[in-house]
């Protein structure tokens, strides 16, 4: 994928600028800081990968950006500037005009997001109607579409996401579609409003590898064509390597390393990232070469002192056990949260 355009305007103001975002769950076991001071920016036309093992806070970071955290969870601090406006300061009504409109979303399980008793065509049409309202709300007096116009738009949208025989599919129900087709419908709905940012949370995890590759190619194609920004959440380092421009690695609710994709894979700095990359087989891994990370991901309600990774880290020192490391900037926009780079 070509690098995103670095036009001057985009350099001045990123599309998304998240600072110190924190989200906690308040449970009987105590406070679980599921998102713990996360900061990052996403430029126009950039594909950002967020990787990390189960429970590292990837989904909750995305949900926090969209302000979709329900009790006992709560966003406890930070800012989420989208086009310069802090979403955390906005009304719920304003957020409804953002979700699924200027920011599109796709989740891992399409069946959980599609309405099982409603025809595909009607669901896509509804997503399009939302867009119509959004335009009217924006002061642009476009007339609401006629039924035929709407149907034609639905079919053309399904065609954009390569749903075969789209006219027939509009009359079907979600369960009549394969997982791959359901995910295409979800993408069509997310694209209906021509979002400038698409958040995709494990969009291909439930799919077979040949279907995954169809969906990833489709997302790349649409991303390029529309110069859309994408936040792609996945636990699959292979998917990241093949799709993203930039990567954030999460561990225990924090971004512990962030770099351009080639740099991250060629020259990982954080001991966790280094170990993570050694623990997944690639085309040139010889038998016996996989190095496991001993121990396990810590409980959020009982985080280790200092650096959360220190109990599993081969380089840990007294400082690591006592003090939480800050973010250290390395050349080429590479940042790492580790005392080794102080």
């Amino acid at each position: 994928m070509p690098e995103p355009e670095r036009d001057l305007n985009a350099a001045v103001q990123p599309l998304l600028d998240v600072r110190d975002l924190s989200t906690s769950f308040f449970t009987s076991a105590g406070e679980a800081r599921a998102v713990d001071g996360v900061s990052f920016t996403l430029r126009h036309g950039e594909v950002l990968g967020v990787v990390g093992e189960s429970g590292s806070g990837k989904t909750l970071t995305a949900l926090s950006v969209m302000r979709l955290i329900d009790p006992p969870g709560r966003i406890t601090g930070g800012s989420v500037r989208f086009n310069g406006e802090d979403l955390l300061q906005k009304s719920e009504r304003y957020m409804r005009s953002v979700r699924g409109r200027t920011i599109g979303m796709i989740w891992q399980d399409p069946m959980a997001s599609l309405n099982p008793v409603k025809r595909i065509g009607d669901q896509v049409a509804e997503a399009l109607r939302l867009h119509g309202e959004a335009i009217e709300g924006g002061g642009n007096r476009r007339r609401t579409m006629s039924r035929d116009q709407l149907n034609a738009r639905v079919v053309s949208l399904l065609r954009t996401v390569n749903v075969p025989d789209p006219e027939r599919r509009t009359r079907e129900y979600p369960h009549q579609l394969s997982g791959g087709l359901q995910q295409r419908v979800m993408i069509a709905m997310a694209l209906a409003c021509e979002p400038s940012l698409l958040i995709a949370d494990e969009p291909t995890t439930a799919l077979d590898v040949t279907i995954q590759s169809q969906i990833l190619e489709l997302l790349k194609h649409i991303q390029r064509e529309r110069n859309m920004s994408v936040m792609l959440i996945t636990h699959d380092l292979g998917v990241v390597a093949e799709t993203c421009h930039r990567v954030h690695v999460m561990y225990a609710g924090q971004i512990i390393e962030s770099a351009d994709v080639v740099e991250l894979f060629d020259d990982p700095k954080h001991p966790y990232t280094v170990s993570l990359l050694r623990s997944v087989p690639r085309h040139d891994t010889r038998r016996g070469d996989l190095v496991a990370i001993e121990g396990k991901v810590p409980e959020l309600t009982a985080l280790p002192s200092g650096c959360s990774f220190h109990p599993r880290c081969a380089h840990a020192t007294e400082t690591c056990r006592a003090q939480e490391p800050g973010d250290f900037d390395l050349p080429a926009g590479h940042t790492v949260k580790c005392h080794l780079y102080a």
């Binding site: 292979g238 623990s279 085309h283 038998r287 496991a292």
Partner: protein, 294 residues
């Protein structure tokens, strides 16, 4: 419906044969049929040179000692109300190790062997992480000192850092216990890492089999080629042109005529629609079912 259809392969003593393929292609069914946990409607399974289809119950039971299974889901395959020591001891009890003290010693050794400690013996499955539960399942499978283990997606439910722990454990135990594995997975990278030979399945059939290195270096069947090219590799320098297959896997209830892969095959010709390609031995341990490969 034929979940697997006329497949033919052998697993050599001491090797790991990997079975790869997409969901529903019949990997698990093959594993279960090999272990005689389901009865194939036709065909033969030989173990140590002897046919094991339709054995009388007593013999079947004896055979069970030599053949064990490790399952994907360490959460559902362990009885939540049993203590770890009882879970691992169960096969020993069933197969005549009646002395409690002896069972206890063996369980303790087994748990240590899979990287758990004696402290864990009195605990229940819910008190363990996914990787630890998979270790418990492995300890139980090893209890009767089997020669042959079918591992059905043993690491698919685990986080990558834990996956590597279990893969390395399986490799180490293979040496230590002289095991032969049938290793089933949809993850091509994992199968490549662990297998000596690989069988690629599509819609209930094996379309290609051969040495793992040879298949990954030069896949011959168009489906194997597409599968390999679709497999995302964690190396951004490997970004390459993918072979993107059209559509999804057809229903096994009414499989396509001729070559079952023909509706999705980028190279299909007229004969592919009519004639079923023979599963041909190309020498060097490689067999392929495709009209275009000679």
């Amino acid at each position: 419906m034929r979940a697997v259809d006329g497949i033919d392969f052998r697993v050599n003593s001491g090797e790991t044969l990997g079975i790869v393929g997409e969901s529903g292609c019949g990997k698990s069914t093959t594993g279960l049929a090999v272990l005689q946990l389901i009865q194939p409607s036709a065909g033969e399974v030989k173990f140590d040179g002897r046919s094991i289809v339709g054995l009388p119950q007593g013999e079947n039971r004896r055979l069970r000692q030599h053949m064990q299974m490790i399952l994907q889901n360490p959460y559902s395959s362990l009885n939540p109300r049993m203590r770890v020591s009882d879970i691992v001891a169960e096969p020993l009890r069933n197969f005549g190790v009646s002395n409690r003290g002896e069972r206890f010693d063996q369980v303790q050794q087994l748990l240590e062997r899979v990287g758990l400690s004696a402290d864990h013996m009195k605990r229940f499955p819910h008190e363990f992480s996914g990787g630890q539960r998979q270790r418990i399942g492995i300890a139980r499978a090893l209890a009767l000192r089997p020669k042959f283990i079918v591992a059905d997606e043993p690491v698919s439910a685990l986080d990558v850092s834990v996956q590597a722990q279990i893969l390395n454990l399986l490799l180490e135990l293979k040496e230590g216990f002289n095991l032969t594995y049938l290793f089933i997975s949809h993850d091509l990278s994992v199968v490549r890492y662990i297998s000596d030979r690989i069988a690629v399945m599509y819609l209930g059939e094996i379309v290609e089999i051969g040495a793992a290195d040879a298949i990954y270096a030069a896949p011959l069947h168009p489906y194997t080629q597409a599968l390999m090219s679709a497999n995302p590799d964690p190396d951004p320098h490997q970004r390459r042109k993918r072979i993107v297959l059209q559509g999804g896997v057809p229903s096994p209830i009414d499989p396509p005529s001729g070559c079952r892969f023909h509706p999705r095959c980028p190279l299909a010709e007229a004969r592919c629609r009519q004639d079923k390609p023979e599963f041909r031995d190309l020498g060097g341990g490689r067999s392929v079912a495709c009209h275009l490969v000679d």
